[in-house]
């Protein structure tokens, strides 16, 4: 299988990429790691006359700490996140989750920005961005804008990124006394999430003062479960509390059903993986 005819362009900077996007409009698509886009082009699910390769843009490749935030460039690969000592230290569920994406070959190519913009319902990063209350920076012709993760994911393969725009970086606030974990029930061949649970908790003197729990793979749109969060907040963080909070998971949510897992099974696995994720923090 080969993609339909196309012209390959390599962007040297963010502004160069935006200029190319403007020039070619709907006929063009950005190419990052290509690990969602190229399989789709090969299957002829998509056809574009121009691919604008953004993977060599230095501005998109850094992971840094700035004024209480971690900033991850859109072009950072999953593999670079696995190996980042800054992230292992400050935001440990990011490297943990990255290590569960696909396989080493996929992690060597795929980028966090590409995954987030693609917004596959079974992708892992959306759940982590929601739990970490990330802010996503999008740049277009008229400048940059910041969108909260909560407002970014709109639905199946749909995000707040509009035509002519690109995601440039992801900013995550860092606070004291937090613990985080990501666990997933994975499709055994592709390793995509059937259920992925991301949890970021603030725990002070044995009490959970803040809980952020979000899911991938469960619904067409990644979501935070505020009922589970409320069941943990302000209470002692212990096994009983975890069990009762986990039993509330994904109630009232529209749950996906496919050949890997029926709706009822996915709902049950969501509760199981909520419990396991929280127990791993305990």
């Amino acid at each position: 299988m080969i993609p339909s005819n196309l012209t390959y362009k390599r962007a040297s900077s963010i502004d160069d990429a935006l200029a190319l996007l403007k020039e070619y409009g709907d006929d063009a698509r950005l190419l990052a790691g290509g690990h969602s886009l190229i399989p789709a082009l090969k299957l002829r699910l998509n056809e574009y006359d121009y691919l604008i390769d953004i993977s060599k843009i230095p501005e998109l490749k850094s992971i840094s700490e700035e004024q209480g935030h971690i900033v991850i460039g859109a072009g950072v690969t999953h593999g670079e996140i696995v190996n980042s000592s800054l992230l292992k230290d400050k935001l440990s569920f990011f490297p943990e989750a990255a290590d569960l994406i696909g396989d080493v070959q996929v992690r060597n190519m795929g980028t966090i920005g590409g995954s987030v913009v693609h917004a596959d319902p079974a992708a892992d990063w959306p759940a982590l961005l929601l739990a970490a209350e990330a802010v996503i920076t999008i740049k277009g012709e008229s400048g940059s804008r910041d969108v909260s993760a909560e407002d970014f994911f709109l639905g199946l393969f749909q995000t707040a990124v509009e035509d002519g725009e690109m995601l440039t970086s992801i900013k995550i606030p860092i606070s004291a006394n937090t613990k985080s974990k990501y666990q997933k029930f994975m499709q055994p061949a592709s390793r995509f999430a059937i259920v992925g649970c991301a949890a970021l908790l603030t725990i002070e003197n044995g009490t959970c003062s803040k809980a952020r729990i979000a899911y991938a793979g469960v619904s067409a749109k990644p979501f935070r479960d505020k009922k589970v969060e409320a069941a943990l907040e302000g209470k002692a963080f212990n096994a009983d509390q975890i069990a009762s909070a986990a039993s509330l998971a994904a109630e009232g949510v529209s749950i996906m059903s496919d050949h890997f897992a029926s709706e009822a099974y996915r709902l049950q696995m969501t509760k199981v993986f909520t419990k396991r994720t929280l127990e791993a923090i305990l």
Binding site: I2, N5, L6, T7, L31, K42, V104, Q105, N108, M109
Partner: protein, 152 residues
Amino acid sequence: MKVSVNVNGRQVDRDIEDRTLLVHFLREDLNLTGTHVGCDTSGCGACTVLLNGNAVKSCTLLAAQVDGEKITTIEGLSNGELHPLQEGFKEEHGLQCGFCTPGMIMTSADLLSRNKQPNEQEIREALEGNFCRCTGYHNIVRAVKYAAEKMT
């Protein structure tokens, strides 16, 4: 478009269609048929090569993406003698039909470049993206262990 790629230490310049996949560039333009096409859908790892030392699936990259970069295929893993990984697969019976073997070896080369003494679990995890329909994997794990020992 014109691409210039360092393949197995040799600079190659070719004029190709922009949509050419890396695996076809290697097999058809350069006659390096050691890199196999298995699933052609990014799953099986038979097409794995090293891009600047990192294992990647060459059926899921355009040759254009590696313009100016360094590619190593199974043919370039060693010059002349068998690489310890190749020797390991031979000694430990790490293959039956051999279709998956080039990919297995290239992914293992990536692993051994990061982790000189991987344990069994680490080897199995590193090879998650490489499928073998014949061996049941046990001897593949032994082959990688053999190479790790030989290389220290």
